[in-house]
Amino acid sequence: MSSGESSPTGRLAAGLGLLWSELAVLFRRRRTWAMLAAVALIPILLAVAVRLSSASLDPGEGPPFLDRVTQNGLFVSFTAMVVAIPLFLPLTIGVVAGDTIAGEASHGTLRYLLVAPAGRIRLLLVKFTGAAVFCAAAAVTLVVAGTLIGALLFPVGPVTLLSGDLISVPESFARSALVAAYVAVSLLGLSAIGLFISTLTSVPVGAMAATVVVSVVAQILDVLPQLAWLHPWLFSHHWLGFSGLISQPLDWSTFGENAVLQAGYVLVFFSLAYGRFASKDILS
């Protein structure tokens, strides 16, 4: 009775086929590579600008960590992260997450995926996973590019942490990886919001723009003291809160809080996306 395709493992493999295909399509698009290249350009520009300028910064001047870059190249990726998080990373996530369903709708391929049949919840899961993989790819790209350019232009050695402790170069790589993971997780909530917005329209540019606007609005709300009660609930609240990961001893508390918050956003907005998409008339 159980042929290769209907056995549990066969079904799982067939189920993963769409995910592989989604990732292949995502990472074969020139747009995706252009965005990752632009992400990589941020630490490169930053490092080159610091290297070329003769003026030395006073401690605390410019973005956080910038004053430390000349002493240790490993700080380039941290600085670049702080620069990219408020606008540039949300912009790329907005493009990818906003495109998920609306992009398929505008190509007309949504109807063919559903007639295949892909299954509506399966398609949403695959689309969200694709966006999450892009978040990780963007964070890793930034950290790797920052580390490489930092090592190229500046001295590299044991890193003095914010707490004043000194850690070895290999351990600083581990900390960089943690920061990349933190940032990738931080962007999941926004990805889920983008997925939801994407189910509302068949105009991908609209969904992309709306997602970016949501991220900007959240950050504006986050600086208004009158809304202090709201701040812990904003998905962008912990975006820059990775300093615990570059202190000694390693402080996981923000990581945990942020992960729970993002999981909440993912749960709520994925459910909304499903509620909208499950019964939607596909007219595109």
């Binding site: 007309g108 063919y112 049949p117």
Partner: protein, 329 residues
Amino acid sequence: MPPVPVAFDSGGALALETRSLTKRFGRQIAVNAIDLAVPRGSVFGFLGPNGSGKTTSIRMFLGLVEATSGDISVLGERMPDRLRDVLPRVGALVEGPAFYPFLSGEDNLRRLDSADRNASARTRRDRVGSALDRVGLGAAAGKKAGAYSLGMKQRLGIANALLQPRELLVLDEPTNGLDPQGTREVRALVRSFAAEGTTVFVSSHLLAEVEQVCTHAAILSAGALVAQGSLDELRGAGERTLRVRTPDAGTAASVLARLGLEPSLPPTNGDHAEVTARLTGDSIDSAHTDAIVPALVASGVRVRGFRIDEPSLEDRFVALTGEGFDVVR
């Protein structure tokens, strides 16, 4: 919610069946209580002017659009409840082909094939290859779909419907954008699917296309089904037309009138004037029509031509929809 589910044909004689299928968009009724019965093994033409509800109906059959009311059965299974089991057995071209322009034709088909949970990844390459060959796109398989001509895209869309052995093919306007040669090729493909035992459901606003390949047809007008049946049944319900070519038009008309017909005189008299009269199915049997020429000759009418036109589907279509193939406004 329908209070009592309607019992569908369970013997499996029908590939597609609907009961009072209705779709409203706001106040507008796109599809109005249609009862469709598509026999298995038929090539079924779904005819109607643009905007008459063909594509909306097809979207409902395939579970893309939810019906406002009514029931659908595809391959003996209720839709959209049994969508996951039914759709792998159905190949579809819906409202034109659609592809990722940045992927090659081959990669597009692989992508859509991977969306089908039941499709084996092991055989994917072979199935995609043979589907492309079947529609004559083997040589262009590696070319980006964005660079395909309209006709090639249309064929790629048909190839997508052929990735698996299908019991039912739903082809929405399959010859749209094709040149006459391409149209002929699609007709040949449709015939070959039918020869393999696949039921083919073809929608079209082009009557000639349906007349040439279909065994059955349904006519949709402004969302309502106005006729369906085998092509002969549809034609048979129409009227035959008698045409007499003669220089003696006046005399001929009076003879025909005496025989109980309602002749109409040609606008111009001349050597080749043509008197026409409608033959309504019941009142004129063949014995009666056989008596017409002797009666004309006996009255001295010089009969230069005598013809009975069988009803064309087009006449029937115009009679039923009250219009030609114009867009419904």
